[in-house]
């Protein structure tokens, strides 16, 4: 697809690379209260950058985004079953 006002893909790539480096360094931090939220936020930001800009979801038909989200929603029963079953096993 052709995108008007194309984003700076090089800048997005640099952001992804820097976030990967930061994630790696944060993984050595001992305080879980700092480490866990930082790693989750960085991973979510990286995923969104790839989805929205590299995969053009920001500029493309919303239907494609709904299809992607449908996959996440369809997985909710799996997560619920796991949450129910896990206390029985642990």
């Amino acid at each position: 697809m052709e995108v008007k006002n194309r984003p700076n893909y090089l800048l997005i790539f640099i952001a992804l690379a820097v976030f990967t480096l930061v994630e790696t360094l944060v993984s050595y931090v001992q305080q879980e209260a700092v480490k866990l939220p930082t790693l989750i936020v960085l991973a979510v930001v990286k995923v969104l950058l790839v989805l929205l800009y590299f995969m053009h979801l920001k500029f493309d038909s919303k239907v494609f985004g709904y299809l992607f989200m449908a996959g996440c929603v369809l997985s909710i029963p799996l997560i619920l079953v796991l949450m129910i079953v896990m206390p029985m096993i642990v």
Partner: protein, 195 residues
């Protein structure tokens, strides 16, 4: 709608249908990989000795480098699409596709190295942590391998009908798949190696 009008619009609609098909496929892949991620999460939450028994065998710097390689390959996918869709640059497309293949192979090489190190340390498919680890990273690696085969086909097997500025949906669809594989790795990297 007249027959002539249908003939004029059909190729465009067909192209959009192909892209829709890729997104439907990726939606299914989301369910598939979330179930695999849950497998890892389940193993970690039900075994308290994860760090001592398994995590200490993982080489985070090497895998961080491998993650960088895959992220870089995603950037080359964008460059390949830019080259053909905005400039009609066949050479640019070829060079970027070649880089994607090389980086994909480097990623698989890094994974093979990691696996050999784990096998040497006694972590194998029969191990409590090895079993889900090799299943999940192996299935992701298989997706990377399929992506490489797809890229090789686009680079060498598609020469009879070369991509043009107007007709480059094949590259765009491949790109969507490759970026998705990259997204999955970003999540796996965080869950398996960093947290």
């Amino acid at each position: 709608m007249s027959e002539m009008h249908m003939q004029e619009t059909a190729p465009v609609a067909q192209q959009e249908n192909t892209k829709l098909g890729i997104w439907v496929f990726l939606g299914g892949e989301v369910v598939f990989f979330i179930s695999l991620i849950l497998l890892i999460a389940f193993t970690r939450l039900t075994h308290t000795d994860y760090d001592a028994q398994f995590r200490e065998h993982l080489s985070i710097p090497i895998i961080a480098l491998n993650t960088f390689v895959l992220v870089t390959s995603s950037y080359f996918v964008v460059r390949a699409l830019e080259a053909i869709s905005y400039k009609g640059d066949q050479k640019g497309l070829r060079n970027n596709m070649l880089m994607i293949i090389v980086l994909g192979l480097i990623f698989l090489g890094g994974q093979a190295f990691e696996w050999s190190e784990l096998f040497a340390a006694g972590v194998d498919l029969g191990n409590t942590y090895g079993s889900p680890f090799f299943t999940v990273t192996g299935l992701h690696g298989t997706h990377v391998f399929v992506g490489i085969l797809w890229a090789v086909y686009l680079l060498f097997g598609h020469r009879r009908m070369p991509f043009t500025k107007e007709n480059h949906l094949g590259i765009e669809n491949f790109g969507l798949y490759w970026h998705f594989v990259d997204i999955v790795w970003i999540i796996l990297f965080t869950i398996i190696y960093l947290i």
